[in-house]
């Protein structure tokens, strides 16, 4: 069935609500309106206000209230309307959501999902386009996942809702409306596994969320340059799937990490650090990053200069010291 990522998420919520009556969906405008991105479209109408409802406008409130609901046996799926608007909930997320299981030595678990539409590329004004993954991935106790495809949107959201651990679920806004063939029976990899989206032998492109499509496009374009590019979609940012990534980089000997977030102290640094540690002697060149600039997210008319694109990624691949390598037979 052909569907958009937004619809796939909607389907995942519906199926979860159907399967488990402890699941509740709430947040700002998720009820009657169906969310500003329509991810919860029609759910209140079909499942009742009891299962999907609007809350007052307060993100710390939403998350803190959800913590209490989870303590009381529910499995809340809450929405933060935009990335930067999750920041008011930062204390609840880091000090409670991430730690409640640990603080109570397992007596209380916190099966909740915090859905956050994130990143840019949609012409949003300031504070509507932050890539905030690094703040969450550095916080032990949270799982952080992000789908790059509509199928993963469905699969990962189902997994996230079933997870006994709290999950920060980052939805790449710019992919909400991309259509794709999706099957609503789960068949994919486990939630904490990366997948190789395209096989190649020269270089590994490591991407996630909004950049998966860009990475795949780059891989196509790279053929013209004679590079056979492998694309790994991380899916789970925390925990990190070392096995899949390392196996790929050991094979290709070169890697580039791509993300929208500012580079400095970004998630890509972690990927570089661990891949380098684990593949040092197989690497022909340092693992490089293509990231957002180290500036506040720009106004819509300039955002294209902020974001990694095919050209920048190709330019970076070109810097992987190809000349230093013994020429591979056939290349």
């Amino acid at each position: 069935m052909t569907t958009t990522m937004a619809q796939a998420l909607n389907a995942a919520l519906r199926d979860a609500l159907k399967d488990d009556d402890r699941v509740l969906v709430f947040g700002e405008d998720v009820g009657t309106l169906g969310g500003v991105f329509r991810v919860t479209d029609g759910i209140t109408a079909d499942f009742g206000e009891d299962r999907c409802f609007d809350t007052p406008l307060a993100e710390s409130g939403i998350v803190g209230f959800a913590v209490g609901m989870a303590m009381g046996g529910f499995r809340p799926v809450v929405e933060m309307q935009f990335d930067a608007f999750a920041y008011p909930a930062f204390e609840q997320i880091t000090s409670h959501v991430a730690k409640l299981r640990n603080r109570t030595r397992g007596a209380l678990e916190l099966p909740m999902v915090i859905r956050i539409p994130y990143a840019g590329g949609i012409g949003g004004v300031e504070h509507h386009c932050d890539s905030s993954e690094a703040y969450y991935t550095h916080t032990p106790g949270l799982r952080v996942v992000t789908p790059g495809t509509a199928q993963d949107a469905y699969d990962l959201l189902r997994d996230a809702i079933e997870s006994p651990d709290p999950v920060v679920f980052l939805e790449p806004k710019c992919r909400y409306w991309s259509s794709e063939e999706v099957s609503f029976t789960r068949s994919g990899a486990a939630m904490d596994r990366a997948v190789v989206r395209r096989h190649g032998k020269d270089v590994t492109l490591i991407a996630y969320g909004p950049m998966v499509a860009t990475a795949l496009e780059t891989a196509e374009a790279a053929k013209d340059e004679g590079w056979d590019v492998e694309v790994v979609d991380l899916r789970s940012l925390s925990p990190f799937d070392d096995e899949t990534v390392t196996a790929s980089v050991r094979r290709t000997g070169r890697a580039v990490v791509v993300h929208e977030a500012a580079g400095f102290g970004g998630y890509g640094a972690e990927v570089v650090a661990r891949v380098t540690e684990q593949c040092f002697h197989q690497l022909h060149a340092p693992v490089l990053r293509v990231t957002g600039l180290d500036v506040p997210y720009p106004a819509p008319k300039l955002e294209r200069h902020m974001l990694p694109d095919v050209d920048r990624i190709l330019d970076t691949i070109a810097r992987l010291q190809w000349a230093d390598t013994p020429v591979v037979a056939g290349a």
Binding site: E28, D29, G31, T32, L33, G34, V36, D54, T55, P56, L57, A58, E59, S60, G61, A84, F85, Y87, P88, G123, G124, V125, E126, H127, H128, F264, L293, D294, V295, P296, P298, A299, P300, K301, L302, H305, M306, D311, R312
Partner: protein
């Protein structure tokens, strides 16, 4: 204990009824002078025209997004008029008409929503803070700035605009408390337009009125009919004076209604009835003030025509501004991140420069 004096009037202050006749729930406030009311009328006409024009241009793709002020003109114009030149305004994304009333140029007002830059005017020169999207955060800035002015012995005041939904945010609470504890000269002006995007006030708060929050901070508070420009101006004038006189902050809630959808991107039919909107259209603040001024012989037909004509000229300047495509320099991305670009930003700037030249 005089705590009860902090409570708002039991019903919203009102000088003019919906049909333009006099109402007499004045709550002890004096009536603003006729000349000010006429000025308010002029600016509401201008603001309304601006709003209609911006909405139209949004449909043509000239703006990234536009949150309309339709129905809230009395509040926004009164907020601007209540301020002196040295006073500060802290607006939200919704308050473009307040900025117009404050005298900002269309291009300055619409830069943010057009997507050219985060703020189109100089806050220091205009004494208008950047329009704020992270809800309620600006109320703290207003309190801090008011306190700063107080410390320097300036007798200036800050007015912070905020919506009903945003009052649920923790920052609003902290701002009221800081302002009250420091007796900062700030007026918190809540435009309760009954919706936070799709969420009606009933789901936002169980309070009879948001103005009842003041007493919990030891702060004077008031509620007013937000579609009665005379009443809003009367109440805000008094609140600003109270703050300016060093008597502490004031919380004012105006009961009004958001006539349009949240923004052009929103579809309000999904969550509210056409009848409700129609009912509120009847309560149009501009019509009401016009009738009142005419009843009182404060406004001549010739003036009405002149204001309308001026508004047309203004609308033309809005169109001209938005039809011109300003040059934006991609390299400006690196300006103003820090006072001086760091070495890292210099390198990134050089890379972008090379890319642009390639």
């Amino acid at each position: 204990m005089a705590v009860e004096t902090l409570l708002p009037s039991a019903a919203p202050v009102r000088f003019v009824a919906e049909d333009g006749s006099r109402a007499d729930h004045h709550g002890g406030y004096g009536e603003p002078a006729g000349a000010r009311l006429k000025d308010a009328y002029r600016l509401m006409v201008l603001g309304r025209r601006f709003d209609v024009q911006a909405t139209a241009l949004t449909k043509q793709g000239r703006l990234a997004v536009y949150p309309s002020s339709a129905g809230q003109e009395a509040c926004q114009v009164a907020a601007a008029l209540a301020l002196g030149e040295r006073d500060w305004l802290f607006p939200t994304y919704r308050d473009s008409v307040a900025l117009v009333a404050r005298g900002l140029k269309p291009g300055e007002v619409l830069t943010l929503l057009r997507g050219d830059a985060h703020c189109g005017y100089n806050p220091v020169e205009t004494r208008v803070a950047p329009q704020c999207t992270p809800l309620a955060t600006q109320t703290l800035h207003a309190a801090g700035l008011a306190h700063a002015m107080q410390r320097r012995g300036e007798d200036a005041v800050a007015v912070a605009l905020i919506g009903d939904g945003a009052t649920s945010e923790g920052d609003f609470h902290e701002a009221l408390n800081f302002a009250a504890v420091f007796k900062a000269p700030v007026v918190f002006f809540v435009q309760n337009n009954r919706f936070a995007i799709s969420v009606p006030f009933e789901k936002q708060s169980a309070a009879a009125a948001l103005a009842y929050k003041g007493i919990g901070y030891g702060m004077r508070s008031e509620q007013v009919d937000g579609n009665d420009a005379v009443a809003v101006l009367a109440v805000l004038d008094d609140a600003v004076k109270h703050a300016r006189d060093g008597k502490g902050p004031v919380l004012v809630e105006a009961h009004t209604y958001r006539i349009d959808a949240h923004t052009n991107a929103d579809d309000a039919t999904r969550y509210r009835d056409a009848e409700e909107v129609a009912k509120w259209r009847e309560a149009d603040p501009l019509k009401r003030l016009e009738t009142h001024l005419k009843n009182e012989n404060l406004l001549q037909d010739s003036e009405i025509e002149r204001f309308a004509a001026d508004a047309e000229v203004f609308a033309q300047s809005v169109r001209d501004t938005l039809n011109a495509e300003p040059e934006l320099d991609p390299l400006s991305l690196f300006d103003h991140v820090y006072a001086e670009p760091t070495r890292q930003l210099q390198r990134q700037r050089a890379a972008l420069e090379a890319e642009l030249e390639a």
